[in-house]
Amino acid sequence: MFHAVVAIKQVPDTTNIRIDSETGNLVRAGVPAIMNPYDAHALAAAVEWKRRLGGRVTILSMGPPSFAASIREGIELGADRGILISARQFSGADTLATSYVLAKAIEKIHSEEPVSVIFFGKQAIDGDTAQVGPGVSVRLDVPVITYCSKIQQIDCEHNEIVVQRKAENYTETIRAALPVLLTCEKEVSKIPFASLPDLVRSLRYEPEIWGYEGPMELERDKVGSKGSPTIVFKTATPPQSEAGELIYCDAVGVANAVKMVLKKSEFKAAIKLAE
C-alpha cells in the first residue's frame, strides 16, 4: 500500500520581512508564518498520488508548538496523520541535528507502517540550505532524488517510481526502487483547494506530539544544539552602499538623462567588451 511521509516546516514569509532601520534587526511582527511553499507542493504531490493509488499520507514537522498550525494546514491539504516533533531538547538544531531527528522519526513511522516515498520540499525559504532532505536520505540509506519536477509513475506492487528531475542544463527521467526520498520543485503538483470536510477536519485536528522521551529513541548528543556542529557566530545587516548620482527626467528631460549615462566611461567600456 502507498504510504507517503512528508516533512514540512513552518517558515516566516520571507518576501515580507523587513529590517528595522534603527536597530538593524529583523522585524518579525506582522510577518505571517506559512508552510514552506516547496513543502506544500511536495505534500500536494503526495496527496495527489494517494488519491490515485489509495493509501495514506503522514506529515511530520520538527519545531516549537506553533508549528501545529502548519500541521493542521497539512491535514487540510489532504494528509491523514500529522506528527509534531517538539521538545526543548530539539531547539537550536542545525541541519545535521534536524536530519537526525527526522530520520529517527521516519524510522519509527516505517516500523509501524512501511513507507513507500518520503517527500521533502527542495529547500526552506528561510534557511535556503536544501541540506536536510539529502541528509535524511543518507541516514536512512534511502536513495535521494532532488529537484523533482514531475512524478510520472508510482508502482507499489513492483516497488518502483519514475520521476523527472530538473538540473541547470538538463532534465532527466529517473527510475528508482522504493523506498525513495524526493525533494520537490513547485511544479511537482498544484496545491489543492480543500473540500469543506477536509478543512473542517483540519480545524479540529490535534497533532500527535512526539518528544524527546519517546516514542523515538534518541541519543542526547545528536539532537538540538548539542548535536549541531554549526552555530551562528554573529549576525549583521548587509552594509548599505553609497548611493550614486540621481538624474531626474523631470528636470533634464529623458534624452539628456540617457545621454549622460552613455557618456560614462564604465558604460562605454562595458559595451566595447561585448563586441
Binding site: T95, P134, V144, V232, T235, C249
Partner: protein, 348 residues
C-alpha cells in the same frame, strides 16, 4: 606533522568543468594563506587539493593544477559519467574519511547542492550553504583553525556568520560568481593521485532512463557581462520584449526579479537574486526594480549599475552607480535609440 588540507570539489559534466570549481580554488588558496599564519607548529603544513570524479578526464586534473591545486585526487570510473547522488556521495565521503581534510568547499550549483548535504551528513560534520564570504578565524579555538563562513539568511535580509565547531571537515558551499575566477597558470606544478572507485551494487537502485540537455545559450546569466533586468515596475510581461531589445543592442542578456518570475512574466532561468542567480556583469541595468534586499544580493557585485525607477526613494538607487528617476517606458526606448545611433556612427 599535520597536513591541513583545504579541499575543493571539482564539478564536471561531460568532461567540462563548471567554472565555480576554479572560483573555489582561488578561495581555497586564499584560505590556505590565512591558515599558514595561524597554525601553531612549524612542522604543520597546508595543502590546497581537489577531488575530481568522472571518466576519462585527465585533462581536467591538469586544469585543476593550473588553477591552483597542489594535488588532485582523481577517481575515474564509468559510473561517474553522469552525475548521480549515491556513487558520488559514497566516493567523496570515502576520500574525505581517508584524508581528513580540514576544509571542504563545494560549488552551490544544482549538483553541488544535491551532493553537499549528503556528504556532510555521511561525515557527521557541519555544512554552511551559499556562503558569500569565508575567512579563517582570528583567534585559535580547539586544535584546528576555524572557518567563519558568512551567508545571507531570511531572503538576504540578514548576513549570518557560521562556525563549524569540533567537526572536520568544515564544509561550505559557495554559489557561482560570488568569487572571481583566478588566473590560469600553465606552468603550475602539482600531483595527481588516482584513487580507486568504491562501487556499491545497491546504487543500481537508481537508474537514469533519459537525460535531455537544455540549450541555455540565451540564458546563462551568471557569466554574462551585460545584463538588462526588469522588475515589477514593468507592469506586465510585454515589458520584457523591450528589455530584450535593449539587451540585444548592447550585446547582453535579460534578467528579472523574483516577483516577475512568480507572476509568470518570464522564466526562472532569468531570475537574479537570493533564490535566483548571483551575477557579476560589467554592466547591470535595473529597470522598474525597487531593489528589495533579496534582489540586491544577486546584483550588487556588478561593476556598474544603472537603475531606472519612477520613485526616487526606491532602495535600488542605494546600490546604483547612476540612477534615472523617470518612466522606464520612456527611458529604455530612448536608450535603445541612442545606443543604436552611437554604434552606427561608430563613436562607441
Amino acid at each position: 606533522m599535520t597536513i591541513h588540507r583545504v579541499w575543493v570539489f571539482i564539478e564536471q559534466q561531460g568532461g567540462r568543468a563548471h567554472p565555480v570549481s576554479w572560483e573555489l580554488l582561488a578561495v581555497a588558496n586564499d584560505l590556505a594563506k590565512q591558515l599558514k599564519t595561524k597554525i601553531g607548529s612549524a612542522n604543520d603544513t597546508v595543502s590546497v587539493e581537489c577531488v575530481l570524479l568522472g571518466n576519462n578526464i585527465p585533462a581536467l586534473a591538469r586544469d585543476a593544477i593550473s588553477f591552483g591545486a597542489e594535488r588532485v585526487y582523481l577517481v575515474e570510473h564509468p559510473v561517474f559519467e553522469q552525475y548521480m547522488n549515491a556513487p558520488y556521495c559514497k566516493n567523496v565521503t570515502a576520500l574525505a574519511k581517508k584524508y581528513t581534510p580540514t576544509v571542504f568547499l563545494i560549488g552551490a550549483t544544482n549538483l553541488g547542492r544535491d551532493l553537499a548535504g549528503a556528504v556532510a551528513t555521511s561525515l557527521e560534520t557541519g555544512l554552511t550553504a551559499d556562503c558569500t564570504d569565508i575567512v579563517v578565524d582570528e583567534v585559535d579555538r580547539v586544535d584546528h583553525p576555524l572557518l567563519l563562513a558568512t551567508r545571507p539568511a531570511f531572503g538576504g535580509n540578514i548576513l549570518a556568520t557560521i562556525v563549524c565547531r569540533e567537526r572536520l571537515p568544515q564544509m561550505a558551499s559557495v554559489r557561482p560568481r560570488v568569487f572571481p575566477v583566478p588566473p590560469k597558470s600553465d606552468n603550475a606544478v602539482g600531483e595527481v593521485i588516482s584513487e580507486k572507485a568504491v562501487i556499491d551494487f545497491r546504487d543500481r537502485r537508481v537508474e537514469i532512463l533519459e537525460r535531455i540537455q537544455i540549450d541555455r545559450q540565451g540564458i546563462n546569466l551568471e557569466y554574462a557581462d551585460i545584463i538588462v533586468s526588469g522588475g515589477r515596475g514593468l507592469g506586465d510581461a510585454s515589458g520584457f520584449k523591450m528589455l530584450q531589445e535593449l539587451a540585444d543592442v548592447l550585446g547582453g542578456k535579460v534578467g528579472a526579479t523574483r516577483p516577475c518570475v512568480d507572476a509568470g512574466w518570464i522564466a526562472y532561468e532569468h531570475q537574479v537574486g537570493q533564490t535566483g542567480k548571483t551575477v557579476r556583469p560589467k554592466l547591470y541595468i535595473a529597470a522598474g526594480i525597487s531593489g528589495a534586499l533579496q534582489h540586491k544580493v544577486g546584483a550588487q557585485n556588478a561593476d556598474f549599475i544603472i537603475a531606472i525607477n519612477k520613485d526616487p526613494h526606491a532602495p535600488i538607487f542605494d546600490i546604483a552607480d547612476m540612477g534615472i528617476v523617470g518612466d522606464l517606458y520612456e527611458v529604455i526606448p530612448e536608450m535603445i535609440a541612442q545606443v543604436r545611433q552611437q554604434k552606427e556612427s561608430e563613436l562607441l
